[in-house]
Symmetry: C2
Subunit: 177 residues, 2 copies
């Protein structure tokens, strides 16, 4: 199973591709960050994110896209940007019929560290260990994207199969409509 | 000047096209609502909104797109959806090099009724009068989209020309890059 994890953000959008199945060692296929200029207009920044995500989908052909579920209890300005960046990522995936899964930050932390309240360093350390990397991926957004992908591979394999079937059915309907 | 106004929402996205210049009678070119099924997956809903907005852009070829600026002081769940729907609208416009303007709800109300605290009925009544319609457009999201377009035509014509130049320059750069 190949999963693209996306840690959405307007300035830095973390992206990471992980391959594997639950219970077996996982492999990192790629990791990076899609950046947009903070002084550019919002619409333009969303276009840059779209191009970046499309490139990652084209290059790595993931079967699932896992995006961090955005909550609005944090900083209001940041949250709006995060919601907008995540919308672009979800749009790119759904347009291709790739199932999108949302995982909360605490689900992701719990999946990779065993604790939903783990800090950035702990998440980075576990991602490094689980993917057998030489050093934690930088910046933290990139490590978080890999953690999202790992979380998705480990959670709900049955749910994934169901989602894939629904998405395939929908794409088919869309084509024949 | 032809403007597409978008009142973003996941369930109902109001769209309205108005043509005219400040100080002259305005003309409604079209009005409608892009709807998405509330029980569908988020990614799929965003794809439906994208298709809807693309159709409006294709049909009416607006020179500007005016989108309601989303604030997060209201209901948290609704606001996230609104932010995501607005991201899709901005993305569709910016991808084509069409300048996007954001106006706050009170700017829009003040522009069409003279008061930033006007209610829905007042906005609907003024939109009906200004566009010389027989009845207020229904639902309120459609009337709000027209109000956004009117607001944009009346506010800052100089700013519009500047934005258009910047967008043209950017599209050019994107093509030659």
């Amino acid at each position: 199973m190949r999963v693209l994890g996306v840690d959405p953000g307007l300035t830095r959008c973390g992206v990471g591709v992980v391959e594997g199945v639950a219970g077996r060692p996982l492999t990192m296929i790629g990791v990076g960050v899609v950046r947009t200029p903070p002084d550019a207009e919002l619409g333009h920044r969303l276009v840059v994110i779209e191009r970046g995500i499309e490139e990652w989908l084209d290059t790595h052909r993931p079967e699932f896209v896992a995006v961090e579920r955005v909550f609005s209890q944090h900083n209001v300005r940041t949250v709006m940007g995060t919601a907008q960046a995540s919308a672009v990522a979800m749009l790119c995936a759904s347009r291709r019929g790739i199932p999108v899964a949302l995982h909360t930050p605490s689900e992701v932390k719990a999946a990779v560290t065993g604790s939903g309240r783990a800090d950035k360093d702990q998440v980075g350390a576990m991602v490094t260990r689980l993917l057998r990397l030489d050093a934690p991926p930088k910046p933290a957004d990139a490590a978080d994207a890999l953690a999202l992908a790992i979380c998705h591979i480990w959670r709900a394999p049955a749910q994934n199969r169901l989602q894939q079937a629904v998405a395939a059915h929908r794409t088919l309907k869309g084509r024949t409509a």
